[in-house]
């Protein structure tokens, strides 16, 4: 029987957490869905590794990661960044993104920092043995539970995987996914778009918003021409959907993602459509984004296109020669 692999964190990166597809279903308890910010990347990575699509991987936000294999052999793959394996004798072999590879005992796995997106992902065949809380291994950073001890990784942390690598081929996608930070996101107006006059709504759609350094897994804080609500900026707290663009008194919008508080008291001028939520998760600090208004029909079409694209990429999975 082969030993289940364990890895040691040598360099943790900037904010690296275990994330799976999230824990929807608990918002009524004040628990946000959390989960991988780029859910498209996670699903494609898991499909590449022949995992269930929702399996947990390491989400490396802004930085890369360096891990040492303490025991066993792991089959891994990196998404949205390239990787290298460093052998004990110091020699390195390169592994491009979206290609599975074996990492053996005493070797080091080095994942580069993502460049054109916010997060790179490192997935493992068979998944991670991270804390399963409310049916998910996702980390809720603000509340401190789930994933690897409810927090981002630190040097010296141990990560246990759930399965040893099986013998066999390595895999890649012949149709390489391109998951870059978006220039624009599609939104449906509301629910409180009527708190803003037409000129202000047009300002949202004409505007070009900067992703500020205050952005994190709980919200993307944007800066641009202020959006002033004619009805003021306070409403009785109500449940908020992921993708909501809420506008506090400053007029500077906040796009809710990931670990966002589940209720809020600011008017929501528009909501990113579900097909573009993964793209919202790819927004990088220092980048810019625009918003494009669409209706429910276009949102449905976008979901369809997204499913089709996923299917094309998934069916291009092939053995590495």
């Amino acid at each position: 029987m082969s030993v289940t692999p364990t890895l040691e964190v040598v360099r943790p990166g900037i904010v690296t957490t275990a994330q799976d597809a999230g824990r929807p279903g608990y918002r009524a308890f004040g628990v946000p869905p959390s989960g991988a910010l780029d859910i498209d990347a996670l699903r494609l990575l898991n499909t590449l590794l022949d995992n269930d699509r929702h399996e947990a991987a390491l989400e490396c936000l802004y930085g890369g990661i360096v891990l040492r294999v303490k025991q066993g052999t792991a089959r891994c793959a990196a998404a949205c960044a390239d990787a290298r394996i460093r052998a004990v004798n110091g020699t390195e072999r390169q592994v491009p993104a979206w290609t599975t590879f074996l990492a053996r005992e005493a070797e080091m796995i080095i994942v580069d920092a993502p460049r054109n997106t916010a997060a790179a992902y490192l997935g493992f065949s068979g998944g991670m043995d991270a804390d399963l809380i409310m049916q998910s291994r996702s980390t809720n950073i603000p509340a401190g539970f789930g994933g690897c001890n409810g927090r981002s990784l630190k040097r010296g942390d141990t990560i246990a995987l759930r399965a040893a690598a099986e013998s066999g081929s390595e895999w890649h996608y012949r149709m390489t996914p391109t998951l870059d930070r978006p220039d624009s996101l599609r939104v449906m107006k509301g629910p409180q778009h009527d708190w803003f006059d037409d000129a202000m709504l047009q300002r949202l759609f004409d505007g070009d918003y900067a992703v500020t350094p205050a952005s994190n897994r709980a919200g993307i804080r944007l800066e641009g021409e202020p959006l002033v609500a004619t009805r003021g900026h306070d409403l009785l707290s109500e449940g908020v959907a992921s993708g909501s663009i809420q506008v506090p008194g400053s007029g500077q919008p906040i796009l809710l993602i990931g670990d966002h508080p589940t209720v809020g008291g600011y008017p929501k001028i528009a909501t990113v459509i579900s097909a573009d939520l993964a793209a919202a998760g790819r927004l990088r600090i220092g980048g810019r984004v625009r918003f494009t208004p669409v209706d429910e029909k276009e949102a449905a079409r976008a979901r369809h296109v997204r499913r089709e694209t996923f299917g094309h990429i998934a069916s291009s999975r092939a053995r590495v020669a």
């Binding site: 929807p24 279903g25 608990y26 918002r27 009524a28 308890f29 004040g30 628990v31 809380i133 409310m134 809720n140 603000p142 509340a143 401190g144 539970f145 789930g146 939104v187 449906m188 509301g190 629910p191 009785l236 707290s237 109500e238 449940g239 908020v240 959907a241 993708g243 909501s244 508080p261 589940t262 209720v263 809020g264 929501k268 909501t271 990113v272 459509i273 579900s274 429910e296 949102a299 449905a300 979901r303 499913r307």
Partner: protein, 213 residues
């Protein structure tokens, strides 16, 4: 009776036309329970708040129009009897190191510290909603004499179990988080436990009493 508004393509906001308060909260709890009991495939979350219900769903599994119809049916058929409120007695150590803002609240309201405690502990509160953080419940309404705006500068870290007041509400912080409410006491009761099947102790519509230790 209610407006139903889209929040993107994967959620609907149900806005009741009744004023927030105990009756609206119990009505919302009944509607949420009725909707939940219908076990609709594709609906992931039903989140009651002061006078709204947010329903999150998977649009590839169930259409927004179908969710809307189910909500309307639940509104039409739900009675307040669908929901059984629980009563929670929460023991509290008031003041001193447990309630570092009690003195300031007393000064700003013109009440004695024991007066503040009496007014806080003498009523049964309704759980209006959960949010802000896991298990954080907005309870209300506190007596008008105790009402103060939130602190101008929130504390970066409020100890878990802190009993607090701000505007017309009171709450217990389930975790140590940043917080802008006035801390008047502390409880050892666990408000949020990830290992419980229903991880939050309070549900909207429940009743809460604070018991001075």
């Amino acid at each position: 009776m209610a407006r139903i508004l889209p929040c993107g393509d994967a959620a609907l906001l149900v806005c009741m036309d009744t004023e927030p308060g105990g009756a609206t909260t119990r009505r919302l709890a009944g509607i949420a329970a009725t909707l939940h009991d219908a076990s609709p495939q594709g609906i992931t979350d039903i989140v009651p708040a002061f006078n709204t219900l947010t329903v999150c769903f998977d649009p590839d599994c169930i259409a927004a129009a179908a969710v809307s119809h189910m909500i309307e049916a639940a509104i039409a058929t739900a009675g307040t009897a669908t929901f059984e409120p629980a009563l929670h007695d929460i023991p509290v150590r008031y003041g001193g190191e447990w309630g570092p803002d009690l003195r300031e609240v007393s000064e700003r309201t013109g009440l004695s510290e024991s007066g503040v405690i009496d007014l806080h502990a003498s009523r049964e509160y309704t759980v209006y909603l959960l949010g802000f953080s896991p298990g954080f419940a907005y309870l209300g309404d506190i007596k008008p004499e105790l009402q103060l705006p939130r602190k101008a500068t929130p504390r970066p870290l409020v100890p878990s179990g802190s009993v607090a007041i701000a505007t017309s509400y009171t709450a217990v912080y389930p975790q140590a988080t940043a917080g802008g409410w006035h801390l008047i006491g502390r409880t050892d009761v666990t408000l949020f436990d990830v290992n419980r099947e229903e991880p939050a102790l309070f549900r909207p519509g429940d009743r809460v009493r604070f018991v001075p230790l």
